[in-house]
């Protein structure tokens, strides 16, 4: 993505031939939302990824690194760095699973819960602003559609 914001748009946006292409639309909606969310999280200790990790860890406990990785659909090697980052900020802590010492159980600290709450508020506000062009009912339908596709068996 090229500066997504600072970059000027051509006269015709989106280009006529791609205005109905799902891949193009998804890519740029995602880029637009990420660009809109980033500044909203500058005051918080976590970015969108960190928020997602905290949310999964806080939602279902206790969770090992690998279990959290499965729920987020990221590789367990990716999870290592994510947890490292959160742990360095004191937002989570690792401890060995007493029942299976191969595993690290990851707990969300008090500071982690606080950061998650603040990030969540900023994110939800960013979502409302971003989805405003759809209207309230339209935004709800849009999210429902996304959820349907994400939940769909194989293809989604």
């Amino acid at each position: 993505m090229p500066a997504a914001d600072g970059e000027q748009r051509p006269d015709e946006w989106p280009p006529a031939g791609l205005a109905a292409r799902l891949a193009f639309l998804l890519k740029h909606v995602q880029a637009g939302f990420n660009a809109a969310t980033e500044p909203a999280l500058t005051d918080v200790e976590v970015d969108g990824r960190g928020y997602a990790v905290l949310t999964v860890l806080a939602g279902e406990r206790p969770l090992s690194q690998h279990q959290a990785a499965l729920r987020l659909a990221v590789d367990r090697t990716t999870m290592v760095a994510l947890i490292d980052g959160l742990e360095a900020k004191g937002l989570v802590s690792r401890r060995p699973d007493p029942h299976d010492r191969r595993r690290n159980i990851v707990d969300v600290t008090t500071a982690g819960h606080a950061a998650m709450k603040r990030a969540g508020e900023a994110i939800e506000q960013a979502e409302r602003r971003f989805l405003a062009p759809l209207g309230e009912a339209g935004a709800r339908q849009f999210k429902d559609a996304l959820l349907t596709l994400v939940s769909a068996p194989t293809p989604g």
Copy 2:
């Protein structure tokens, strides 16, 4: 994205805390659609990106590399490699702009038009399959919503 397909999903998918988070939904819908599209394009000479470049070049002529880059919202340095790839396959050709010799005008060759047509058919079929869980009206509404967001002024 971790093998998106081969990877097993956890019991709860998407995780409860993220089922309403736009970034998470967009990321995984996009990943799912890309995974669904890729095999559909194995027989064609272009991938999704190449198809998008061809479509923009064929839709509004003549276009320089930089103009095409603006329409696709990619950097002009990125466009160089994209055109290189298409040119190596004989799908586009570069020629200097007679009115401004700093510019390369990029033409879609006959082979390029043929590849674009075949890719377009495969992609549209993949879209229909992927969006099937929404129903016909739902799929149309979903695409309309994406287009609205992509077209929105600054935030999208």
